[in-house]
Symmetry: C2
Subunit: 543 residues, 2 copies
């Protein structure tokens, strides 16, 4: 007989069981590092004490404006202090934060505001144009609070009142609303919606708390860390670093515009130690550095995701003095759920071999329970052979609650007890996962699967190519054939023909994988640097 552990006095009580919430991280920052600089924004800066006070004022003002438990507060704003304040102030009112992608058009913004029944919209003046157009489409206009940021470029003050006036109405000593259940909603992140209407992924306090700790562990942050905001904060809550810097008591450096000169100036001025960005940000840094000859004085760790960083970009970024950490995730898994965890044994590999390893999506992070490449039907793991393609599946406490008002899409996303990413990948013999394609991006030619990524990697090796994207093009005989969009490096325009590209590919690809068409020119991307393949598929026929 086992010992008796069922007695009441051994169960949960307020001293030993408390809802986990990222709000606690701000409380800790202000208790431990009250006078340390929390946020730098140009000539403006706030200590953790001041930042906390502003968050509390925002929370209180929101409650005063009728936005409380279970209400949605949206924000359309670049990487500024108000955006950070919203990450704490909105949940401290018991409300749900909805960060809007600053690249959305008026129709998409209107859809999201209506769908989420947004009560308050916080708006940076620079986005007044698109916001006006969106608001005009709504039946119920939310309260609009405009931010008159000193660094905004143009725009109008179209709100009902100013952000500073608004939070000025809040009581910094007002009561904070704590989640009664750690699975309560904290934020709402609409997927970029490459097809159809965007879906609103609801995050919970528990998941954000745990994934924040995981990000601190894997990006190796400590209280001396200075984090530069080259990743949009609206993008899945800035991969949890919006909360993470509070947890360890570091310093945020805001950045309205992600431009190489401003990035390098901020790094040097503020002794930046950490940042994040899509591989396109890495590319931008390399180009910027090439023009100015700049190099980092001390190493900066950069976490990158959205696409695997191509080998030449990886190499050039590291030569500049960055430590690159390749991670993988998606909106539905609280942003980042996997990483290409580094093996020191890789140091002895050739640069090319090492880049190949580092380009893998890798393994689950420390708070994710499971990540496998599974057969999409049986959900059994595929063999670890680096060849068999399956779907990447996740299980863990960093899985979203579900999609707001969308039971069908939620049940589909979680079908079979896993989060189904829709990403197609292989598992290598060492257990590391490598994406081969999005399930909807795979090209099926004569019944054979062709990975668009494999084609892109080959085209990318051409010395004149700066970016490549392969998509399926309808074909009467084969069903689909590959069409490749190519961006050439500066000064290389007109130097490469489609025929030359085809010859280049012929030497490196199986015949059935050869592109039928090459289109030269700019490639459509989302604000987070993801190629919009649905647009390219449309263009493949007309181009």
């Amino acid at each position: 007989m086992a010992i008796d552990l069922s007695a009441d006095f051994l169960q949960r009580r307020p001293a030993n069981f408390r809802p986990m919430t990222p709000i606690q991280f701000l409380r800790r920052a202000v208790d431990v590092f009250p006078d340390r600089t929390a946020v730098i924004h140009g000539d403006v800066s706030f200590t953790w004490r001041e930042h906390d006070r502003r968050c509390r004022m925002l929370a209180s003002a929101l409650k005063g404006a009728g936005a409380g438990e279970g209400d949605v507060v949206a924000i359309l704003c670049p990487n500024t202090p108000a955006m950070l304040e919203a990450h704490f102030g909105v949940p401290m009112a018991g409300a749900i934060l909805n960060t809007l992608n600053t690249r959305l058009d008026a129709a998409a913004i209107a859809f999201i505001l209506e769908h989420s029944e947004t009560k308050v919209l916080i708006l940076d003046r620079q986005w007044s144009g698109v916001a006006s157009a969106a608001l005009a489409k709504l039946k119920n206009r939310p309260l609009v609070v405009h931010i008159d940021d000193p660094y905004a470029e143009g725009g109008e003050l179209i709100g009902d009142l100013d952000y500073e006036t608004f939070i000025g109405r809040g009581d910094p000593d007002g009561e904070v609303t704590w989640p009664s259940d750690e699975f309560d909603a904290i934020t709402l992140n609409y997927t970029s919606g490459t097809t159809g209407n965007p879906k609103g992924a609801l995050y919970h306090h528990r998941g954000c708390y745990l994934n924040t700790l995981s990000q601190i562990v894997h990006h190796e942050l400590n209280s001396n860390s200075v984090y530069l905001w080259t990743l949009p904060m609206f993008h899945v809550n800035g991969w949890c670093f919006s909360w993470g810097m509070a947890a360890i008591g570091g310093t945020h450096v805001c950045l309205r515009r992600v431009l190489p000169a401003e990035i390098f100036a901020s790094i040097s001025k503020h002794d930046v130690t950490h940042m994040c960005g899509a591989p396109t940000v890495l590319g931008m840094l390399i180009e910027g550095a090439a023009k100015t000859g700049i190099k980092l004085q001390t190493p900066v760790a950069i976490m990158t995701a959205g696409a695997a960083p191509p080998a030449p970009i990886l190499k050039a970024t590291e030569e500049l003095g960055f430590t690159v950490r390749h991670v993988y995730g998606m909106t539905e898994m609280h942003g980042v759920a996997a990483l290409c965890d580094w093996h020191r044994e890789w140091r002895s590999l050739s640069a090319e071999e090492r880049s190949k390893r580092m380009a893998r999506q890798g393994v689950r992070n420390v708070v994710t329970d499971d990540m496998i490449v599974g057969d999409p039907v049986t959900l059994d793991p595929v063999p670890h052979d680096g060849a068999t393609i399956g779907e990447i599946l996740f299980r863990g406490n960093n899985g979203m609650k579900g999609y707001l008002k969308n039971p069908t899409a939620t049940d589909e996303a979680f079908a079979g007890g896993w989060y189904r990413t829709g990403d197609l990948a292989v598992t290598h013999p060492d257990g590391y996962i490598e994406i081969k394609d999005r399930s909807k991006d795979i090209i099926i030619s004569g019944g054979e699967n062709i990975s668009s990524i494999e084609i892109e990697e080959v085209v990318f090796q051409h010395p004149s190519v700066s970016y490549a994207a392969a998509v399926a093009m309808k074909d009467e005989r084969w069903g689909e054939t590959p069409c490749v969009f190519v961006e050439l490096k500066e000064g290389h325009d007109g130097r490469v023909s489609a025929d030359e590209m085809l010859e280049f590919c012929r030497a490196r690809l199986a015949k059935f994988k050869l592109p039928r068409k090459f289109v030269f020119g700019p490639i459509e991307r989302t604000s987070t640097g993801k190629v919009q393949k649905f647009k390219l598929r449309d263009r493949a026929h007309s181009a």
Copy 2:
């Protein structure tokens, strides 16, 4: 009206809500770093794959022996691979791990085995003497599995079977028992019991999981970390590093005997990066280094707790090349719950002033919700004036479940919704907490509170003193007066008189705080380096 979030499809499901448990950390280590060395023990070593296999075999063998869900498995063993295997293998059987303090006497061991209804005792041969005596006192003898460790010094093989034979019966592919509830018990840690019978603090999977992540964050571990076991693993599960090295995929270096020569040899041989230990361990390192003239080649981070490291020890340890991290905790809070989080601004302080700051117990760790110094009656926080004494109180998910079979002590420990540490402290204006005394160690003289620690700090400043402990001595007139036990440095015996010590104190202490008696000679300590003041109080009168 708020948006509707009550629908079923937005609630917990297996893909997004899973019991947190440290067992997951081992799964991750074996998936991510299967071929990396997990455990080094002299000439023996295991990779994470091998270590995991042995843990699974142990789990399966325990189940086969009838030790399953809710059963207690005890281990009496120094820092060896079997001890680490028990930290995973026992919970993987659904059982509860009870690590026995290797300094306990037979009566205490017998009490614990009986009180916890231990089903299986895993025993290192070196402890066969005390174990035999303890087992002889029991009505129901548990199954005894002896470890024939190649580095054991003496002892007999008194078990029913050998550890390797035992785990050899286990199936490495047997099913792991996962906790159905993350608040389920995972380990049982008996307090050292300075008075009365020891109490068994029950830990839960949730608390161990979170505190492990916190320890990784604050001790700044990553996958290249090599952890040397200078802290006994039996001591509150090795401050969670027993699980933590798996979480990040680092390497354990075992150590049966905490001796300076062996410590320095291990550091240099295995490129150790992290370790832990009471200030007595720091003192031992300093003495060892002084004899051999050794210095560290690369910095090693050492986490210390149990008592504040005195300034000269702090200084000397850092001069050897160690980075000292002072933490604070107790059995009931999963080991470590607070730390003297470092402020880079302290670098510009004088060595003395910096040592004073670093000697503070500090602030809560990242997963603890609250730590305050509160009035013991009202529980209101005391003023942050560095002077008002109150009791240290904790709230957080790293609070124990409670004491096994002891509802009264549990309810007392959690009275008022806080864990009551019984430690008396002040809060400084910067929010950092500093212990002044254990509530039972305070000396009340003529109605005035005298901190025993304050007296010890003064005596410690005397150049001949290596250690000091002040306790209350009954006094007819004053109720109590201070008596100080003093250990002198090697070669200083007989050089200092009680009169000289009194003069020394008179220049540095208020009159009512002056010790009435000095006793020179060895001071009783527990195995974890804590002074046993109850023994000194007895001796104060007879000495």
